[in-house]
Amino acid sequence: MEKSMRTGWIVALAGTGINFALGVLYAWSVIKNGIPDSWGWTNADKALPYSVAAFCFALAMVPAGWLQDKIGPKKVATMGGILVGAGCMVAAFSGSSLLGFVIGFGVMAGMGIGFGYASATPPAVKWFPPEKTGLIAGIVVAGFGLASVYIAPLASVLLDAFQTSTIGASGTQIIEKGVSNTMLVFGISFLIVVVGLSQLLKNPPAGHVAPSTQTNTSATALKKNEMTWKQMISTGQFWIMWLMYFGAAGAGLMFISVAADLGKKSMGELAFIAVAVLAVGNASGRILAGSVSDKIGRQSTLFIVFIFQAIVVLLLSFAAAGASWGALWLPTLLLVILIGANYGANLSIFPALTKDYFGLKNFGLNYGLVFTSWGSRRPCHALDKRHR
């Protein structure tokens, strides 16, 4: 039993590590600022690879989840690592071609992130008893939330390290950031890291029963259901979950960008601290909410998260309307951490809820379908950008 738990923790931490690397998605916010004027990209062009990547990430969760259920997490996560690595390398060798970046970073890396993300959580939760589902799901997905702490500064350092200086026709010095080399370093690094950690992912043997410390917690009280995706989408439960996830994730993501602006307003040059605090809040919200949901139930935790998020949005509206405390760093940081935590909470509660309601057998595909609600806000986001 002890050996089984040890293996479970190895699988969970490998999943966290994979998600930590897959946060390469967040590097784009820094990389796009390094794209030289000589490439002739508009602001909309610069946003395109990221938008395509986020869309492909959410879309890939469905086939990746299905594959994960069929052939196991190791192979699917390995495919994810190869796709992410190869995608970044395609972008690196595309020169200034927007199409190359869209195909490389957008389609290939985006799908790779989906393949990796879809394979990290299911094997980890299978090793542990139901009363730890929320905690384990939270720990695994926390890696993705925490990634922006290191990935953005790392991208910035690499862009500077590889920058080149040339003399233009008019004799002025032109400095260009090293976008292509940065993508190449990311491609090689994440290929090695994700493929390496993927080898540690494995499902427990058939018939494995995780040692449970409690006989009837709120998390274990649910009737055992092993639903196929067709059975799942015919339940009202699925659609209510989808709507809740869509609303919560949409609101969270919207205010994450507001939080970054708020940080710039109140902290000026130190706005990067707000970004780091946001990531820490995001990651800790995933672990905390997952853990709390194991104790008091998923719905009760979700209810608290929704109400808390509504209060935070109300406070944000006061700050945006010019409340004097909106320009102070401490209240700003508190708001930022709460925004991150509320958003992150959804990403651990919903996978745990999916497992509780629809079972583990088809968990990969089922959660992939639930996760489409997260991806569905992408077209809305694009519409929003057009309105701005």
Partner: protein
């Protein structure tokens, strides 16, 4: 949902966007109660079955104690 902000901004009332989001979040909080009601026994399916097969029993599901009603339906 972020598009709400853009639309509301176009209407010249940026503050309204926050209230729309708050309303969405409160609606989400209410949905957790609905979700809770469906948690253990897929009551949603029972309602659907009741509505499709037997409106009397569906009415029974809503108006009377659910347990005896479910037992009756089980015999159909």
């Amino acid at each position: 949902m972020p598009w709400i902000n853009g639309i509301v901004k176009d209407m010249g009332k940026p503050h309204l966007a926050y209230w729309v989001i708050i309303a969405v979040l409160l609606a989400g909080a209410c949905l957790t109660f609905v979700s809770k009601g469906l948690a253990n026994d897929s009551g949603w399916n029972k309602v659907k079955t009741g509505l499709c097969l037997n409106t009397t029993q569906a009415r029974c599901f809503f108006l009377k104690d659910r347990q005896p009603c479910n037992q009756e339906r089980g015999s159909n």
